[in-house]
């Protein structure tokens, strides 16, 4: 089993991020997502519970095709929106072929403690395989692919947010007093997210057929 953890900052309020969450497909980085359906939706104790079914193309290397012989895979995304505490939690897993490779991802979107106009997303992922003799190789492949895709997912989400809120001031304030190492790290992340969100429209304009 391989475990992955990362976090990123969206330069949008939590309310904006959760509204964008439902509309994040399609985006220039989501060409592999073929369909998206809501299969469960209800309000429980003031929280919004949803389950969505996604289908995606299964882009795997040739060596892996002996284990998974299918052109697309199904993904289930559970989510809970707690508007009172401003928390969105998502939990995503693949359906079927879980013995070959299971990828489970949990993401927590919370309003930033330092700036209510920012949202922190913390991402955890578990990549597992039960194929005897190959599980290590499959996990390593799954881990690398997940890492790459997580990056792309954030870029795609930022692209959607920017389209929804074009007048949003996304430039981080230059004069914030950064005291701790952590804050410095956040600031660096901010800058890179900003650069990525700026890059997405450029990417889209270069690849008009894919957007």
């Amino acid at each position: 089993m391989r475990f992955f953890e990362s976090s990123n900052i969206f330069n949008y309020s939590w309310e904006q991020v959760v509204q964008g969450f439902w509309r994040r497909y399609p985006n220039p980085n989501s060409n592999h997502v073929l369909s998206e359906d809501t299969v469960i939706r209800e309000v429980q104790a003031g929280k919004l519970i949803s389950k969505r079914l996604l289908s995606k193309t299964n882009n795997i290397p040739n060596w892996a095709k002996r284990f998974i012989n299918t052109t697309y895979v199904y993904i289930v995304e559970e989510s809970i929106v707690d508007a009172k505490n401003k928390i969105l939690v998502t939990y995503t897993r693949n359906l079927g072929f879980t013995k070959v490779m299971s990828v489970t991802e949990k993401v927590i979107y919370k309003q930033s403690d330092e700036n209510p106009m920012k949202t922190v997303a913390t991402r955890y992922a578990w990549i597992d395989s039960q194929v005897r003799g190959f599980s290590k190789a499959i996990c390593a492949f799954g881990y690398d692919r997940f890492k790459k895709n997580a990056h792309k997912m954030v870029g795609g989400f930022n692209f959607v947010l920017q389209n929804m809120y074009p007048n949003q001031q996304v430039i981080p304030t230059a004069h914030t007093n950064i005291k701790t190492a952590n804050k410095l790290k956040d600031a660096a992340k901010n800058a890179s997210e900003l650069a990525k969100s700026r890059a997405a429209p450029i990417y889209a304009s270069l690849h008009p057929n894919q957007s």
Partner: protein, 79 residues
């Protein structure tokens, strides 16, 4: 975004539009009554369930609860 069933695309779009405005104008403002889009959800659901059946997708497996249950995976190093 397309639905898994081609026949459901229009129903999905109608429902998604309704949901997105309900989510912004009601839910995020603390009004949690979700009857507004319920009729649209019902017809869209009937269509999606049919499409899932045709594509041999196990609905029981899809609707299984994992998040916030004992089956949920926990981050390493945290309990």
């Amino acid at each position: 975004m397309n639905s898994i069933g081609e026949a459901c695309n229009d129903l999905k779009k109608e429902y998604d539009d309704c949901f997105n405005s309900w989510f912004s104008d009601h839910f995020l403002r603390g009004r949690t009554n979700d009857s507004l889009c319920a009729p649209l959800f019902k017809v869209y659901q009937d269509c999606v369930k049919k499409a899932m059946k045709q594509q041999n997708i196990d609905f029981e497996e899809v609707k299984k609860d994992l998040l916030e249950t004992p089956h949920e995976k926990k981050p390493q190093g945290k309990s």
